[in-house]
């Protein structure tokens, strides 16, 4: 078992997303995260799915998804060939006297302050999924009141010209 990111170009039609998610539950595959949104074309959506499965299951998932009429393209985003990002919103409890310390820490980590309340701050953090997790760990000692993550979205790197080729700029 290992984690894989699958990118799906999907016709933007009623029920199309349901057909994809139904296929996963029907065939017993577990989705770790699923992000869906519009693309450069209004009639097409892109799904980024994160699944934990064997290579054999991954192949089955791709083949079964290809059979869905609304699915235009299924590709695996391999870590070395893809840009992957995630947005997290994290509300952290903080007493007034420790606010400055927390804000300073978050700025070093690359997070933005989205809202400040009397006893809590909401941060927004955009980054690679491992960076999101690192930020979450960083602020956890203060007390995470609420947290939401978009799930990763990804695109193939234009610098990854051939499968397995090292990207020229890896950021």
């Amino acid at each position: 078992m290992s984690a894989h990111t699958i990118s799906v170009r999907l016709e933007n039609r009623p029920g199309a997303l349901a057909r994809v998610s139904q296929l996963f539950s029907r065939r017993g595959y577990n989705i770790q995260s699923l992000a869906v949104g519009p693309t450069e074309r209004p009639d097409i959506s892109r799904l980024t799915l994160r699944v934990d499965c064997s290579e054999h299951s991954l192949e089955q998932i791709e083949k079964q998804m290809h059979k869905l009429v609304n699915v235009l393209r299924v590709t695996e985003l391999r870590p070395d060939e893809a840009v992957e990002r995630e947005l997290a919103l994290i509300t952290v409890s903080v007493a007034t006297d420790r606010r400055a310390e927390l804000v300073a820490l978050s700025q070093v980590a690359g997070a933005q302050v989205a809202d400040i309340g009397r006893d809590a701050i909401t941060f927004e953090f955009v980054g690679r999924p491992d960076q999101v997790e690192a930020f979450e760990e960083l602020v956890r000692p203060y007390g995470v009141r609420e947290l939401v993550r978009t799930g990763r979205v990804g695109l193939r790197r234009p610098s990854a010209t051939a499968r397995g080729a090292q990207p020229s700029v890896n950021v």
Partner: protein
């Protein structure tokens, strides 16, 4: 371009698609479409007595004709009653267009009377489905529905049409092309894979073809026969594939699997090369997967890439249309065998030896009619008939005996519910077959349990003048379940005894305007069956059989082929 109502457009679309027969039942949300039927159409509508019956009729029609079956039902319970045939068509890759009425667009989502989310309920069991809420979309959707049902791996689609769409007036143009950018079934075969397959076949010492229902769906039976003959390849043929290669062909070693022949299972077990063609390594064929064909390399031909490698790794995958693939393969094999010509004599002699030593067997007993005897009598009667005989079955022991004992020499002459195992399939499927093959004698071999699930369709057979012969292998039990209870549940026969007390099937037949016959002993069998075939109307033959007869051989679920259970009195076999 013509101005018309959505309901009329549905029928014009069916006519454009060449639909000659549709099976259905009207109801509230589909009423406008039935009104359009009353206004006139070249489509013959066959009125079923239950929507499940209509669905299985459409399936029987499709499997017998190779065309897309059409079933029509209303919303809510009409749609839910179609769920079983849609699932059946999904499991057996039967091309089916199900058309359901839906409540008015403004009522969708309000839990209106007879409202059900038909596209939602059927989502896991259709290739695709459409909910039509705009009449302008109707022609394109129907065009797409037929296209998706019949292309690639065939199967069911659902078109759910709101009542107000059926009532709306618009300018009807039937499109010439479908607009389905995501639907790209394979239309050619990779030449390198074909060459590899041909080389593997040429080099194999103990090859076995494993042909399934996909060969029939692909209309590739002639190509399969050519391959078998030219490469001298022995074959096993699954339940769903029965008829794709003549049962009388000397290289046809019959069905493998749970109730297949010992020799077919042994052949797979000892093969060094399995050439799967339109078959999907179903658990009823493989038993324990890790012990299935343990010494064999696998070549897997299929139109559906997702079947290749799903259960069993294929060393040589060949994805594409079977008709093309098999034709090209035969030529490639001829070229490859010119270079390497292995001596297959020992293998073919081994297969022949197994076939001679382990035929299907059962023991006759004084005073009790064995179900196998009835099937053999039907087989022998069919052989004497001038007209074609097409068989349908229900699901259970009688189905397995039919698979074992009937001889099917032509494609599409054995029509059964394989993947879903739908009891009650046989009678309505036979009615649909008769609509497709009016000149054939259509015989449903049924169990008493199965027959009672859908026998109301005898009314359809009688009134629509689609006469069928239903032969009820009546052992008074849910026989296959009883067999499992006897073998695996210490003879605790929980809720399987249907009894011979009621109904009287011959009287039931008469009540439906059909001829009824009762057979209680072997000496009555031949005359009753012949009379039923020649009744000039639908007929039901109640064949009262030994309640305790079990279906053998049997590979228990999850066991290996070599752990086959034999009929009592047979010699033990080292495979």
């Amino acid at each position: 371009m013509a101005r018309m109502l959505g309901s009329d457009a549905i029928l014009r679309a069916l006519e454009h698609e060449g639909v000659e027969v549709a099976f259905g039942i009207p109801g509230g949300a589909i009423l406008p479409t039935y009104d359009a039927i009353a206004r006139g159409t070249t489509v013959r509508h066959v009125l079923a007595r239950h929507e499940q019956g209509a669905g299985h009729m459409a399936e029987g029609y499709a499997r017998a004709s190779g065309r897309v079956g059409v079933a029509i039902a209303t919303s809510g319970p009409g749609a839910t009653n179609l769920v079983t045939p849609i699932a059946d068509a999904w499991m057996d890759s039967t091309p089916l267009v199900a058309i359901t009425g839906q409540v008015r667009s403004n009522l969708i989502g309000t839990d209106a009377f007879q409202e059900i989310d038909a596209t939602g309920i059927t989502m896991p069991i259709v290739k695709h489905s459409w909910l039509v809420q705009d009449v302008e979309e109707l022609p394109g959707v129907l065009k797409s529905a037929f296209h998706v049902a019949r292309t690639g791996r065939q199967g069911p689609v659902l078109v759910d049409i709101a009542k107000d769409v059926q009532e709306a007036e618009f300018d009807f143009v039937y499109p010439d092309e479908v607009d389905l950018p995501g639907w790209k079934p394979p239309h050619k075969v990779h030449p390198r894979q074909l060459r590899e397959a041909a080389r593997a076949i040429a080099e194999a010492q103990r090859p076995i073809l494993y042909a399934g229902g996909g060969v029939l769906n692909a209309d590739a039976c002639a190509e399969l026969l050519e391959l078998v003959d030219s490469a001298h390849l022995p074959a096993v043929v699954t339940l769903m594939g029965k008829g794709c290669l003549p049962d009388s062909h000397p290289l046809n070693y019959g069905p493998p699997g749970m109730h297949g022949s010992k020799y077919a299972n042994f052949a797979l077990n000892k093969a060094d090369l399995v050439i799967a063609v339109g078959s999907r390594f179903d658990d009823r064929v493989t038993g324990k997967v890790s012990a299935f064909a343990p010494g064999a390399k696998v070549i897997h031909f299929d139109i559906d890439a997702a079947e290749v490698g799903k259960i069993r790794h294929a060393e040589i995958p060949v994805v594409g249309p079977l008709k093309l693939a098999l034709a090209q393969l035969a030529a490639e094999v001829r070229a490859a065998t010119a270079e390497v010509a292995p001596d297959r004599g020992p293998w073919l002699r081994q297969l022949e030896d197994w076939r001679e030593r382990f035929p299907y067997r059962y023991a006759k007993a004084e005073g009790v009619l064995k179900p196998q005897t009835a099937i053999e009598a039907l087989r022998d009667l069919a052989a004497t008939r001038e007209e074609d005989v097409v068989w349908t079955t229900g699901v259970g022991q009688h189905q397995m005996w039919a698979m074992q004992y009937l001889r099917c020499e032509t494609p599409r002459s054995f029509i059964t519910s394989g993947g879903l195992g739908t009891m009650g399939y046989g009678v309505p499927a036979a009615v649909g077959v008769k609509a497709a093959r009016p000149d054939a004698t259509v015989v449903c071999i049924d169990g008493d349990g199965c027959f009672q699930m859908t026998c109301q369709e005898l009314a359809t057979a009688a009134l629509e003048r689609l006469p069928i012969v239903a032969v009820v292998i009546n052992n008074g039990w849910l026989g296959m379940v009883r067999q499992w209870q006897e073998l695996f549940y210490a003879e605790r026969f929980a809720q399987t005894h249907l009894t011979h007390a009621v109904p009287d099937y011959a009287q039931l037949a008469e009540a439906y305007g059909c001829a009824g016959f009762t057979v209680e002993s072997e000496d009555q069998l031949e005359d009753a069956l012949a009379a039923a075939f020649d009744a000039g109307r639908s007929a039901v033959v109640d064949v009262r059989c030994d309640p305790e007869e079990k279906c053998f051989p049997m590979v228990p679920a999850g066991a290996a082929a070599v752990d086959i259970i034999e009929a009592p009195g047979e010699e033990a076999v080292p495979a």
